[in-house]
Symmetry: D2
Subunit: 354 residues, 4 copies
């Protein structure tokens, strides 16, 4: 939510263990190894290489849909702004949760493409079909931007996970009002690994018009895979990628990473490890009756510490401070592909000792 | 200039040797090694880490100027659009050569930020102080965009290299008319390695208001280092990087690479190898009296082959077709950090055999 | 707020008396007469004529400030988007009340220039220095747009009027955080005519960085006069007017109207008539204990009718339906320069008969 | 082309007769009279009134097409930017002549909406089907903006007039490549009055996807009527008008004027008078063997005077200086609805006396 002050203090003490986000280390070793192995191969540029083609094929298979288009971009903000600007006409707005990444954490990237973000209130980042319907059934009014698409995150910025039933309800509204549905999957792997989740890639490829499979936060060096399902939204997407600075010259780097993710299940394994680590920590917090303020079934825990607890732990760990509530401080703790079991065990011991 | 059709054919025959551009392979081994070595270190995100700080310090030293700001972005189009939008007011335009990357090769990325590109005619990508002065001394006219900055490339998209005297003349005009001067250094290393070049990084840090040191085309996996010299242009640059999707989550990847480039001269060594390889090929072409249509003192050769010569060579090599002139075809050939001596020797032998 | 359905029904019955807004008729007769009188005079275009110069001089005198720049635009949305885009850098946002015209009624015109509108909650359209301070003192965060200016309306979209003390408090915050203060004066005349108002044009020319004096809603055929006080915001404003389609070819039409407004007090006389008419109606509503839901000291009354009252009145009058509350309907009633005393008397009689 | 310096000098001497452009006076008396007559009528706002409806009906009849949509905007730049941004996707560019109003005279208004203007060289403002085809058949290239529509002016900025045959050829290319054709008719009336013109409104309503009928330069106070023929381009146009500041509150002013234009042929009468006046002047220039540098069959004459001739005439007249050629100066002379016969006769006498 804001730049981590804890992090600055941590720069001076590299012994601290960082749980502040899910991108503190480089890439999963299998991914990095593939980048090293393919380093000397010559390929054409801008994602027209064999690795990108192979990765796209693997993703099509994982989505059980050979009619989708797959494109690879470097980061999440870049992906969101490219997808959204490719879909909307100038007077159209994107509907999003108040907590949506595009509403809170992208420095007005969507507005910079000319479009308003119409926000729907939510605590945990999930919005409902009913709420969306209320927005889109307001009287026709040329003095207000027209809703043109829907943006959701799976899992959400606060760890919420949509069920398939919820997504189908949203899809019904989206279809009725001709609004493309776009899901930001920056943490999609962690959603799949959550016990709250009953959706698969194939489900998303049926429900969404566009979605992306996040790599950066799930163990890639960098990279997000955009899946365009809706035929009408496919045209000229690469032009807009290039125009927004998102067509990587050595595009094969993205292809190589997503090949590694989807060749034999690495994407899911990475996410499952992270969620398993988070669930261990959750159990320790529950045992100490320390409150988790949002759903805690993915790799993100939002923990309410009292001042004494917080002071004790930040001697050894870095969390992302979220907000202050009276004498308490709420922090975000993330696990990821790289979280060592021993760090988790040490943290649990320290929690038990609070 | 256009998407390489030769490249498509090459996908089916991976035995072909690619000289079509300077980004056909991954990264220089020393750079890749540093990425591997630092993979497990935890750092804060978004370029606030120690590697970015260290790389910035090394670049400040190389520029002999501790007052500059250094920022790292992923690619060239992203860098150009971010820098330019950070400088101009809405009604201001950027002056550029007709051949400038922003004018020809970025899908209208600058216009997409709202600004016109005012082009000045040139063959080899170089424009003069005199030409710029002619543009900016036109009568005040609120019905036309106002020139707001100058964009050059060093070396240019066609291998031209500005001398220090030429840049100083341009700078004098820029100063007189209060126009920030921005140099696109996507191939800056190759300019430095050219016998035509008498400028250094320290010179650029005196002459430019902003410039960037290109990594992607000079042996990085990806990455460009923006150097902001003019105090007035420094404010809030990171906000605009983030807004345009250019603030890499694992920003340390950029820091690590530029540390490797500037710790002990790797950036120059890489470029010198590439230019040396190009000069060997040039000598062979000269010996056969095959025409080079543009200056040929950097890593790019623009070669005019007749149809027979072209057909013979594309059995074994991939070039970038540039344009057709009667029965001749003009192609671009690039060398880079990764061009093996044996490939060059084989190509020379094949040229001699034409 | 939304397109008036009542109005559509009214098209079929031109006998209805319209109170739905303050722009149902053409121009005040004195203004129209001046347009007729000057019709055959030849002038240069685009606002460089003598009438625009004379009108600007009159406004400078009325503002008691000869250092201001005065520009004339056709309408309010055009004015707001031109002023705001002329001030902000790309990553900057404008702070506005949730009810502000730019937030609710301009089809995302500000976002279409690339900027987010950061809204502060309010009922009657007024926000406080304290609220603004809370927004601008949030921790520095490159992941969110940076507040870059403040937008207020005087009087507000719901009839609220800022006192001089309130504006001075806001100005103190604006100065402290280097945020230009822009006041939308679409209904500025009506504010001046309100008993709640203790500010003058000269006050605004001290307190604001930019403001505009609304003509369209105060009896002009069309037109708004932008006053730029802050020296730094004056540069090149006409370029941006032209770029956004706001530089009227026959600009003299705007000059002629504002000359008429400010030569001998017409602007104030027009507004005073409108407010006097509104106050008469207010007295009748008060006598019937019919609720006015917002402040009612300008030309706008927001009236809560029950269904029966509403049905009775809309047989003869057009109001702007605002929202439904249970069995009640809240409507907006506007008076203006053209509201005949006899219409007001008839309405009062009909209110008394309810 | 540039702000008229001659005009500044003319401000000091109001006795000078202005021929610098076609918007030096107010409105044609019949139009102004209708504005006066309708001043007290109450109507709903934003172009939803009966006058706009009636004017639209008259234009449909004049176009012999009841399926078109008609919208009214205030000025030409506003109209061009609104139409173009309503049509293009972000990566698409508009093809225009180098001399097109959007390319030379709108302060980058189109670029400010995010789109590049691809220019085709021309002297008199006319481009050919062949030239357009050459642009749109360049190889597919995601690194360049994609042509998305065609912009022409009838008559052109230099008095050129397209024949129906030329337009049909362009239309064939436009259709083949799925490029909407948009004609800027700022001076459409004058084209119709030209002996070079064999097209009618009904022709344009068959050939164009969108065009506009210019009012401002043909005797309105202000106003342009957009005609949308292509069904696909009609959707939500009013939203974009509002967003760009082009939805006039008292929209009826536009309706009233175009009603007057099209009720009984006023639009054509106005233009015929202007062209007749221009042809008289042309005859006098021809008799003196003074060169007309561009086609001279509409209301614009581009005249090459020598220095002595020029100095003699500008004692009494204002022209728009266009450019200097050695000792000669080329100026633009415009006639319009308001050009008195006696002024023309005086000018002719003065030409004869040169």
């Amino acid at each position: 939510m804001f730049e981590n002050t804890n992090a600055k203090q941590a720069m001076k003490n590299p012994e601290l263990i960082r749980f502040e986000n899910d991108y503190t280390r480089g890439a999963h070793p299998e991914i990095l190894q593939r980048i090293v192995e393919t380093n000397e191969v010559q390929t054409p540029g801008y994602g027209t290489d064999e690795h990108c083609a192979a990765a796209a094929d693997l993703i099509k298979r994982a989505c059980d849909n050979s009619d989708i288009d797959v494109h690879f971009l470097v980061g999440g903000t870049q992906t969101n702004l490219t997808v959204i600007t490719s879909i909307l006409r100038p007077h159209e707005a994107v509907i999003a949760p108040t907590t949506g990444h595009i509403a809170t954490s992208e420095t007005g990237a969507i507005e910079a493409t000319g479009h308003k973000v119409i926000t729907i209130p939510t605590d945990i980042g999930k919005i409902t079909a009913e709420q969306i319907k209320a927005v889109v059934t307001m009287p026709e009014n040329v003095h207000a931007p027209k809703p043109g698409m829907i943006f959701l995150s799976q899992s959400t910025e606060f760890g919420g996970v949509y069920t398939k039933a919820e997504l189908l309800e949203i899809k019904a509204v989206a279809n009725k009002f001709d609004l493309p549905l776009f899901i930001d999957g920056a943490r999609l792997g962690y959603a799949f690994a959550s016990e709250d989740c009953d959706t698969t890639l194939a489900d998303l490829a049926e429900i969404c018009d566009v979605f992306y499979i996040g790599g950066t936060k799930v163990g890639a060096l960098f990279g997000e895979a955009v899946v365009i399902v809706n035929e009408k939204l496919k045209r000229d997407f690469r032009y807009i990628m290039k125009q927004r600075g998102g067509l990587l010259a050595k595009g094969r780097l993205l292809g190589v990473q997503f090949e590694a993710f989807f060749k034999d299940g690495l994407y899911n394994r990475v996410a499952e490890h992270a969620v398993a680590m988070a669930m261990k920590i959750k159990a320790a917090l529950d045992a100490k009756e320390i409150t988790l303020v949002y759903p805690a079934t993915t790799n993100q825990l939002f923990i309410k510490f009292n001042a004494k607890q917080y002071e004790a732990l930040v001697e050894r760990y870095v969390f992302a401070p979220w907000r202050v509530e009276g004498d308490n401080i709420i922090v975000r703790l993330c696990t990821d592909w790289s979280t060592p079991v021993e760090h988790v065990e040490q943290l649990i011991a320290d929690i038990e000792a609070l």
